[in-house]
Amino acid sequence: MMNEGIAPNHLMIAPILVPLVAGAIMLFYNDRNRQTKLVMGLVAVGLTFLASVELMAGVKSAGEQAGTVVGLYRLGDWPVPIGIVLVLDRLSAMMVMLTALLAAPSLIYAAAGWHGKGQHYHSMFQFLLAGVNGAFLTGDLFNLFVFFEVMLAASYGLMLHGSGPERIKAGLHYIAVNLAASLFFLIGVALVYGTTGTLNMADIGRALYWLDDAERMLFHAAAAFLGLAFLIKAAAWPLCFWLPPTYGAASPPAAAIMAIMTKVGIYVILRLSLLVLGPDAGPSAGFGAPALMIGGVLTMGFGMIGILGTPELTRKGGYLAIISSGTVLAAVGFAQAGGGPGMLGGALYYMVGSTAAISAFFLIAEPVSRGDAGKDENDDGAPAEDVADPLSERWAPMGLDTVEDMTTPASTRTVSWLTMAMCFALVAAMIAGLPPMPGFIGKFAILQGAVQDNLHTSGALPVILWIYAAMLILSGLGALIALMRFGIRRFWAEEGPTPRILALEVIPVVLLLAMIALQTVRADALLNYTRATALALLEPGIYRNAVLAGAQDVRAAPAQNSAPDPTAADDAGQDQEGGE
């Protein structure tokens, strides 16, 4: 039962430590040495990627022997329910790898000049990565809050990078919304601690069995508060108003890496709703599932209307992120309500592909709409940009002497307008879910899982599944119409000189497209992986037992406020394990 031998030991903390240390070391250099910092950042991202490959290999190889194995890393070697743990399973390994894969293109793009438009871009970028990876890896609710705040604090800086009135205005809203959401998070954490007496995610699920009715109500309130906080970050429908202006105003490389941040919210909802409120949670089973289902479907509808309605390309990217969030959230709701692993596996596959595509979209949106004459119809007073030089574009310092220099791009090679058109078409096809692309495969897998796992129970599909299937297809159609309209107008109908676009701004998009292509070619392997992930997520006992394996001894003397009767809890845990 002790899994230290199997678990990749100290490597588990590498995805947090490497960016954190790299970001800190960069602070010792003069901020003018941006090329040095760029190289350091790329090295750090590369190391993180290698670590994630190793971690994923560990999770997978162990998985082939005995279902799924969960790696455990005890920080400071404190015993389990007391100390803070990092937990690695298939889902976290996948998300950590995705983060590293999105980070490299974003960094390369920043080298085209954006990293010179403000201070400490590279340090903040690394701190953001540390926070995101920490949120994916931690197994402790309060530690999750801390990593969330690390991530958010870095994202405030990245969002404001480059300054300018529009960014400051959007940043003010973004920070206010997220501060309020963090307070909700804290209320939820406090209520969870007050009712269950623990903050270890696996332990919460175990303590949940012994809550009486009054405490259970409080726990549900806690779950609702936490859900609210994460849904704000995942941009579910009524709570997503902040996202399009923020991501639209952020500089493209920052928006590209912030695409992973909505997925952090989704990851936590996925993790907690299936681990704590999953099918085996007794009276709390399925709490919040209807909200996720209905909210997810409404989110997709809102995103579709938004993308059709907004004229500005970067804002369209925000609505694309909302559509992607809604798709995955609804699938999580269905899985929590017992919709089977097929849908969830498909949704996870879709999430990987769509996150990469949205990241690529943010990177391509700015060069493509550079000097776009049709853009002046937006109402926020931004003048149409006819500036061909990307370095002076959208650049309005706020009068304070914050930025002293502008670095020249690392390479001044340019690319043709046709290349841009091709890239844009491919990204749009991916986002709309056209057949050879992973967007299509993911949606197809979701629909297939929905039909396979839910048809035989009642003879007919539940109504909400029909609505979901319809929205899945319609939202793709909406995205296709909106992007095609833009593409035709911009690439075919418009005359005049084409803007100058640096090769450095296209290489990242090509890299992301290569990733997406690889996802199509190796769709089978990735789908197998995500399906196994979904199966493991729907068996929360695996995760719980792996984390709480060594937890018996410390609960021998129950603290005053801890969950009632820990010995009974351990017995139940072992019963479950016997049932595997």
């Binding site: 801390v146 003010l172 501060l179 307070l183 804290l186 007050g194 406020n561």
Partner: protein, 114 residues
Amino acid sequence: MELILALAIGVLCGSGVWLILRPRSYQVIVGLCLLAYGVNLFIFAMGRLYIGAAPIMPKGGFVDPTAYADPLPQSLVLTAIVISFATTALFLVVMIAARGVAGTDHVDGRERRP
């Protein structure tokens, strides 16, 4: 004591929520501060209320945990205070920048048209 604490949390959170819904950025930041105070008190209360109990146990040997206050909410609240202080300070900087750029302290960067 329970009633006083509950009232204090309620008043802080209530006025905090009212203030962050106001249109001036200064009101928003004060509201966020009040809300953070209320939440911090709430975290503290979730470790149950004790009077005159130390949170730190003496070293060595088994002690009766009922005689001590729960140390975990205290450490949580300490972390929460530090984080909310830092992020509020950051918000203040952005707020001042927004005031300088927009020339108004309205949260939307422009006055509502009459």
